[in-house]
């Protein structure tokens, strides 16, 4: 009852919908970067939405099944293959014992979510099966998968069937220039009016070092700060603050040059000012951004953030209904 990892891909980790509740001790929630895609893949194979699946970034793994299973791949467009035969994305398909699941090249997006009927069965740590590699916590031995690993499958499935699909209009949509809606706040007052404007005007590009901890962007104009005598304990750079908590989605800009949006494996705090926060409705999208992807931050208010949250929830409900 297991998956044998023949090739791990670039970085493939076990993730579910996360481990909230321990951020005050520096343990981030982790979990799928694109939660909606993991949930959809789980529903397709008859799993609970929060079952653990595999998150593969940029490159898929190669996996041999030692039992029959139903599989679905959602998120990035990275065509799954069974014994070399291409299968549709966002659609459940059957894999027989002894067959090999592999992947074609990435066409769009960044992270594919692989759900298997029964779910991935690794020990539940602090309420979740998600992997937090920096803390060697959860997932498969606290790390990304390696060739030769045998990953156990669970039994918490309600019997998924092959051939079920998420309707096209409910799938992840990738555009030429991505837009991330952000609510200004936190230490926004540290920026000059000019910097507050250029941050939202400029087109930024995802930097190659973007990862599960944070997505880094570069290419926009450097931000200038309102002059002040640095407060005691804050550090000497104008972008420094007395080390504080970092909200998920918060946008810090060390030295005023390269914004970093903290994501599911966020460092929980530190000494860099934050100018605001990407709204939670747009966090899934960040997980699908490739390096060099042009991106704009769009300034929104609380009302818009709450409306976007409700729309995301409604979309999730439509996915549920379409597969029920």
């Amino acid at each position: 009852m297991a998956l044998e990892i023949l090739k791990p891909g670039l970085s493939t980790t076990v993730q579910d919908l996360g481990r909230p509740g321990y951020y005050h001790l520096g343990i981030p929630e982790s979990g799928a970067m694109d939660k909606a895609s993991l949930a959809a893949a789980n529903l397709l194979v008859g799993n609970p939405e929060g079952a653990a699946g595999l998150e593969a970034v940029f490159q898929g793994p190669e996996v041999r099944f030692d039992q029959d299973a139903v599989v679905a791949v959602c998120g990035a467009q990275m065509p799954p293959k069974v014994d070399g035969v291409e299968q549709p994305g966002w659609t459940s398909f059957a894999v027989k014992a002894g067959q090999i699941l592999s992947f074609g090249f990435l066409k769009s997006g960044a992270r594919a979510y692989i759900a298997v009927s029964g779910g991935i069965d690794v020990p539940v740590v602090l309420g979740s099966r998600s992997t937090y590699p920096l803390g060697a916590l959860g997932g498969f031995e606290g790390r990304a998968l390696k060739a030769g690993d045998r990953v156990k499958l669970g039994t918490e499935s309600r019997g998924g069937k092959p051939g079920r699909s998420v309707p096209e209009n409910l799938r992840v949509e990738m555009k030429g220039t991505s837009e991330l809606r952000a609510l200004p706040g936190l230490y926004w007052h540290r920026l000059t009016d000019e910097a507050g404007k250029t941050f939202f005007d400029d087109v930024w590009k995802v930097a190659p070092e973007a990862d599960r901890i944070g997505y880094r962007f570069r290419g926009g104009r450097a931000l200038s700060f309102v002059p002040r005598k640095q407060p005691f304990g804050a550090g000497s750079d104008p972008s420094n603050i007395v080390d504080s908590c970092y909200p998920y989605g918060s946008i810090q800009v060390p030295g005023g040059t390269e914004p970093i949006v903290l994501h599911r494996d966020a460092v929980s705090g530190g000494g860099y000012f934050m100018l605001g926060t990407v709204i939670s409705a747009d966090m899934d999208l960040i997980g699908q951004l490739q390096p060099h992807q042009p991106t704009r931050f769009v300034r929104v208010d609380m009302e818009t953030a709450l409306k976007a949250r409700a729309e995301r929830k409604a979309k999730a409900q439509r996915v549920r209904e379409s597969l029920s």
Binding site: L25, Y132, A136, L137, C245
Partner: protein
């Protein structure tokens, strides 16, 4: 102190108690987060105290951001009254200062340091006006420290030394962060001490290493079996300089499952501390080493 409220997206309330660090700001942050926990406000998912600020994460589907903010503000006056005392514990942390492992690391990243010709300890001693490294170590390990925040990565304590501001050790962070730091390194950046709970990147100055694990995701270390993280905000830490032999002996005891940290319950009063830091610290150390 001027409390400043802000939202982090639609699901965090962020509260800056004060722009600058002080024990008073930390105590307000701690008592406010305790008050939020005790009041059991609907929809709260994470309660995170920090050095001079705190953050509450909540589910906006259960409580609106404006209602959440109002609930927190409502607790503010009650928390201000209770902010002065704390029942906590003092923990002794052995430190092998100037050890070979952090020394090797700091030499490897010398070009990222303010003073490429010396060591981090020599630099920290000099910029803080100490005549020698041993005098600096005496100050670092002499007065106890408050754990004022746990985070950055799993189980890492930020610590603020319990001395008058004029005596606070202050050292800038590395010019450019290192890509590596040994696990259990005792470091310092700005006015904060820390212990790196896991190996990884970092920008704090490197002073030494403790043989005592503070984070164990496998929960095999004897005193981390109940929970994988040792520290919580409000703990008091006293560093104890040890030599190589004592360091190695402790490592062996830890591995054999027989090491028990020296730890005692203590009561702390902010007013007493302000009246006489030396007297307060003396009492804390007596409690640590008492019967």
């Amino acid at each position: 102190m001027g409390t400043r409220y802000s939202f982090g997206g639609e699901d965090h309330v962020f509260v800056e108690v004060d722009e600058e660090m002080s024990l008073d700001a930390f105590f307000t942050s701690l008592s406010m987060t305790n008050a939020v926990r005790e009041s059991r406000i609907k929809g709260v998912t994470e309660i995170c105290p920090a050095n001079a600020s705190y953050q509450i994460r909540f589910d906006p589907d259960l409580i609106s951001p404006s209602d959440m903010l109002a609930e927190i503000k409502r607790l503010e006056s009650a928390a201000a009254k209770s902010a002065g005392t704390l029942s906590t514990r003092i923990i002794e942390i052995p430190v092998y200062y100037n050890d070979p492992w952090t020394h090797q690391t700091l030499m490897r990243f010398r070009e990222r340091h303010q003073d490429p010709t010396g060591t981090d300890l020599e630099y920290a001693a000099r910029v803080n006006g100490y005549a020698s490294v041993p005098e600096f170590i005496e100050a670092h390990s002499g007065a106890p420290w408050f754990v004022s925040m746990v985070g950055f990565v799993a189980g890492l304590p930020f610590m603020y030394q319990m001395v008058e501001r004029a005596k606070q050790i202050e050292v800038p962070k590395y010019l450019r962060p290192r890509t590596d730091t040994p696990k259990l390194t005792v470091g310092h950046g700005g006015c904060f001490g820390c212990i790196y709970s896991v190996r990884g990147a970092g920008g704090y100055q490197l002073f030494g290493v403790t043989p005592m694990p503070i984070y164990d995701p496998k929960q095999e270390v004897s005193y981390l079996k109940d929970f994988m993280i040792l520290f919580k905000p409000g703990d008091i830490v006293k560093f104890k300089p040890v030599d190589r032999d004592a360091h190695d002996a402790t490592v062996e005891l830890v591995n054999a499952g027989r090491f028990e940290p020296t730890m005692r319950p203590v009561a702390f009063s902010l007013d007493e501390f302000h009246a006489s830091p030396a007297q307060t610290n003396k009492k804390l150390l007596e409690a640590l080493h008492g019967a």
